[in-house]
Symmetry: C2
Subunit: 243 residues, 2 copies
Amino acid sequence: MTYCVGMMLDRGLVFMSDTRTNAGLDNISTFRKMKIFENPGERVLTLMSAGNLATTQAVISLLEERTKAPDDRDPSLMAAPSMFQAARLVADVLREVIEAHAQTGQQADSAFNATMMLGGQIYGGPPRMFLIYPEGNFIESGEDTPFFQIGEIKYGRPILVRAYRPDMSFEKALRLLLVSFDSTLKANLTVGAPFDYHVYETDSLKTGKTGRIELDDPYFQTVSRDWGTALTDALDRLPTYEF
Amino acid sequence: MTYCVGMMLDRGLVFMSDTRTNAGLDNISTFRKMKIFENPGERVLTLMSAGNLATTQAVISLLEERTKAPDDRDPSLMAAPSMFQAARLVADVLREVIEAHAQTGQQADSAFNATMMLGGQIYGGPPRMFLIYPEGNFIESGEDTPFFQIGEIKYGRPILVRAYRPDMSFEKALRLLLVSFDSTLKANLTVGAPFDYHVYETDSLKTGKTGRIELDDPYFQTVSRDWGTALTDALDRLPTYEF
């Protein structure tokens, strides 16, 4: 499993992904699930993926090759004229890879499926964010659904639903995400630290603040510890039930 | 789907269940999922169920018939000599019902599976609580796992994990459960109010406080509204992230 969140804020986009992959419970590895495609001053795209690792790695490799080899640059993520076209390209590659595996007649315990999230900005357009399904179609975030989650989404969802505000600062968004990731981490063995993040500021058109938060990161430790106390304090402030 | 929680406290057992069942998204009904079997002064058993409604209703009907018809009273829930034997009886009936449906060769979109939770006390023994799987085996709660959830368990789990205390009062336990149910309700259409509860006091050997909390219950409304504020306040008290 995996846990990735993309959030659209008034001031930009925030992405966070975990790094755990597992083939069975006894075969656990760390892989980066966030990939940034950048042409400074012109476009920044962040791609996150959940699902079959072979599928998502193949998709990213194909997308990367196309951005590098000049002869094969069309269609390419770096040449897509709009975020919508970029999402369409990712969706097409994703569907092709899944189909290619399925057509060999191979079977896997878990399907070859994967879900991806693409967010970013291309010069001349606003920041946009898409959730791309294995079927090759996708939906876009908007005012009513300003954040997307992929992977193991349930444990960390209630706090996002309650505390997300479009006008929150990047610092507060990171804090909210870490609380959401902490809840998920505590409940599901297939989601694990470290967590990668990318904070993209609207109209900057360059990679923003990126980083990796380890399990023993002092700030994460503080959040993880204090959040338990804060929750129980919050609960205590509610009136108790009377029979 | 369904959401039921059973909690073992120092002072007794607390049970809560939702009442929504659905066959498809456009066929939603309200059914009681909590059943109390009582012989005052001798035993009180609470049974909650999640899964295929035809299966769980058949199990409860069979268990009830056996407690009523004197000729067929053995084995019966009301005659089981211990909580362990009572759990074994429920598990056997559950497995039989599932097998009977499966053997007809019928297929259903969702399997005929169901999961049940049995908690209570029989004179001479301590209160005990069991989680019963469709395969007919079961596990018992203990100090390390003092509460069980069945059904749509993920959304409401983080707050239970964080705020459960074995020495909490019944009133505080109800409050905690309502917060957990509220988080689930907000996230999943297949979990719905009203919520039934039963609070059993250790060694009372009679049905304790029971009730049904409707969606428009003023206390539930308060909890639902104030919890959002309390959560965001709690989040605000954590230090913000610094890049």
